[in-house]
């Protein structure tokens, strides 16, 4: 213990953050080389909950694998099932009734709101404020109750089927969704009062955690990270799918490249999602929610198919290579958080550990979705 220590003028030490650490929201590990409180170099280590979803996709039949998609991202499960369903439907040529497609969009957008609400609460908890988390969970509870009544689950929905959805929505759901809109808008005003205007919060967000558009392009970042850097890219607009071309919404873009921009993008997205749900409820057509002859055995013709959607966390892509059998030859899931997270290594250099954690909060990481 009493050996002489050779001190270097800029001596660094390695801080191991995670795999169990309150700020990483799961089992992400970050090896940080620190100089005092400043980060010199950081390296994210993933793979602690790798569950081989892609391999499972290759050995399971299409309807069997559909259930796995809800397990990627436990907060925004609906968007991932939607993408997979769209891809397989495109491959196998399954027609989706209009009403089913509208219901899917309503559910996906509600799920996006609930996902953003959890992000908001967890992000502020990273900054040390605990109470907003409970408030966002109260609002989220309304969404979960609505969705549970229809889908039967609160997180892992398994609601979308090839060709439609498993259950039709009823008047009670429509009514509660309509009642939810003014409630949520009021809640948003409350969050802005409690959080956005707060001087401590502003000081920690404005101008902190710079992520340039070049860096976003380099790493393939999407969602609030890219849109917070001024890149106007939203799959719903740029490569329209489903019924999004028929719905009115705006893509919020801020070009501050800092934590505040990313935060504001997500807050505005909640508002835009409310608009989409409202509009979709107005336009909701009548009809069946599954095609007359729902396909039992799905065997897409041999080929290479790709479908991307905008999930709560960014651009999610499913690449499907079919050899004409009941199981895919290759199933590649392009998860948005995996790309977003790798920004962290580069963007956190020179930041203090507090600001680096705040920046990581704005990336909206969900670890099971990174590891798949």
């Amino acid at each position: 213990m009493n050996q002489p220590v050779e001190l270097q003028p800029d001596e660094t030490f390695v801080l191991n953050v995670g795999p169990q650490h309150p700020a990483t929201h799961g089992v992400l590990r970050i090896k940080m080389e620190m100089n005092g409180e400043y980060i010199v170099h950081a390296e994210t280590v993933v793979g602690y909950i790798h569950r081989m979803h892609e391999k499972m996709g290759e050995i399971k039949t299409y309807p069997q694998f559909l259930m796995n998609l809800s397990r990627l991202d436990y907060l925004g499960a609906m968007g991932y099932s939607h993408c997979h369903a769209l891809c397989v439907e495109k491959a196998a040529g399954i027609e989706v009734p209009k009403r089913a497609e509208y219901i899917r969009v309503i559910m996906v957008e509600l799920n996006r709101i609930s996902s953003h609400l959890v992000w908001l609460g967890a992000f502020i908890m990273d900054l040390g404020g605990f109470t907003p988390l409970l408030y966002t969970f109260q609002a989220r509870e309304h969404i979960l109750d609505m969705m549970e009544r229809i889908t039967g689950a609160r997180l892992t929905y398994c609601y979308i089927r090839f060709g439609g959805v498993s259950r039709d929505i009823d008047d009670q759901f429509i009514q509660s969704a309509r009642d939810f809109m003014p409630y949520m808008r009021k809640e948003l005003v409350k969050y802005h009062k409690l959080v956005t205007g707060n001087i401590i919060f502003k000081k920690r967000l404005i101008g902190m955690g710079h992520i340039s558009p070049e860096m976003c392009r380099k790493y393939g970042a999407s969602s609030g990270v890219a849109r917070g850097a001024g890149i106007n890219f939203d799959i719903r607009r740029n490569e329209p799918y489903s019924v999004y071309p028929e719905l009115e919404f705006e893509v919020p873009v801020y070009d501050g490249c800092d934590n505040m921009s990313r935060y504001m993008v997500r807050m505005d997205e909640i508002e835009q999602s409310l608009r989409i749900v409202e509009h979709a409820l107005d336009q909701l057509p009548d009809g069946p929610v599954m095609p007359k002859k729902a396909p039992k055995n799905i065997k897409p013709p041999a080929g290479d198919y790709y479908q991307a959607t905008e999930t709560a966390r960014g651009t999610f892509g499913v690449r499907l290579v079919s050899d004409g059998s009941t199981t895919p030859y290759r199933m590649k899931l392009r998860s948005p958080t995996y790309s977003n997270m790798h920004l962290f290594d580069e963007a956190c250099k020179g930041l203090m550990i507090m600001d680096a954690m705040a920046m990581m909060g704005t990336l909206d990481l969900v670890i099971p979705e990174i590891d798949r």
Binding site: L15, H21, P22, A23, Q138, N198, R204, M354, D355
Partner: protein
């Protein structure tokens, strides 16, 4: 002989009072957080959850005290004691009424501040001896924070001393006791007509929050990045002592604010004895601190230091100068 016994009894009562407050403020904090977050909080054990603190204490005591491998044992064990003891010692000098005080000390104000500064030493000991990088960083933060916030706090206390002309806490209260508007916080009717007093109170309030490592200044235990801060390696009653020390320090801060600015036990209407008024004022301040904790996010370490060095220290210095000037004029 009888005098010695009385003093001994008074000291024991002071210790009991500190420990009681520390234990039940934890409950108050958790219930308060529950109320703000629209949930009940701990309400199962006993009526209103009143048995929660003793049960928590038993649970903590029943746990094994694990000393990390390679830790500096002596410092590791002495750190929680060093946090709790000075806090209890300060209670000896604090007057709760003209008759309810363990020992009337002429330099009571100095004594309280002297002991309050010692708490930081315990935190540094804990952070350094735990042999954990997180706790070391937390300890370093705590030191810079304590240094930065003790200065404006003591300068503000100096302002009060200047006005009162004494460091005896009893005497400071006695000067404000004439009626409601003679409290130091009300500027216009007091003897000095010092219009800066509300600002002094604000500075003192912010500093006492920062001194006691309370949110939004709880950088020493920032769970978001440093997991649990300086007490990360502590379990069992070691952790319990840190916790109690923190709350005892809050009580000291609130008591001092009451004595300096809110007229101590002087009562505006005289409905009940002065000591009750004192407690009402003190707990009002404590609940405000709890309320603040559950509202705001945490500041950054440089934001915290900026606030102290750029705003609070100049403000308190200006305040001291102007007060001295006003004293001369009136």
């Amino acid at each position: 002989m009888i005098l010695t016994l009385t003093i001994l009894l008074a000291v024991i009562i002071a210790i009991a009072w500190a420990a009681f407050n520390a234990a039940y403020l934890v409950l108050a904090e958790r219930r308060g957080a529950g109320i703000i977050q629209r949930r009940p909080g701990p309400n199962i054990n006993g009526p209103f959850g009143l048995l929660q603190p003793p049960l928590d204490g038993i649970k903590l005591m029943a746990k094994q005290l694990i000393i990390p491998d390679g830790a500096d044992k002596f410092m590791y064990i002495s750190a929680p004691v060093l946090v709790m003891c000075p806090a209890i010692m300060s209670f000896v000098a604090l007057p709760y009424s003209d008759w309810l005080q363990a020992q009337n000390i002429d330099v009571g104000l100095l004594m309280v501040f002297a002991f309050a500064s010692m708490g930081t030493m315990g935190i540094v000991f804990a952070g350094w001896s735990s042999r954990n990088k997180y706790s070391l960083m937390a300890a370093m933060r705590s030191v810079s924070q304590a240094v930065a916030y003790e200065i404006p706090m003591i300068i503000t206390a100096l302002t009060i001393t200047l006005m009162a002309g004494t460091t005896n806490l009893d005497a400071i209260v006695a000067q404000q006791s004439e009626n409601f508007f003679h409290w130091n916080i009300f500027p216009l009717f007091g003897e000095t007509h010092n219009i800066l007093m509300p600002f002094s109170f604000l500075i003192f309030f912010i500093c006492s929050m920062a001194e006691t490592n309370r949110a939004p200044f709880d950088l020493g235990e920032a769970e978001g990045e440093l997991v649990a801060g300086f007490h990360i390696e502590y379990g069992s009653m070691g952790f319990g002592l840190f916790f109690m020390g923190e709350y005892a320090n809050i009580v000291i801060g609130a008591t001092l604010a009451t004595i300096f600015f809110l007229g101590g036990w002087s009562c505006p209407f005289g409905l009940f004895p002065g000591v009750w008024w004192f407690l009402i004022k003190m707990y009002a301040i404590i609940f405000t601190i709890i309320w603040i904790r559950w509202t705001f996010p945490r500041t950054t370490i440089y934001g915290l230091l900026n606030l102290s060095w750029k705003i609070l220290i100049p403000a308190s210095l200006v305040n001291l100068l102007l007060t001295a000037g006003l004293m001369k004029v009136f």
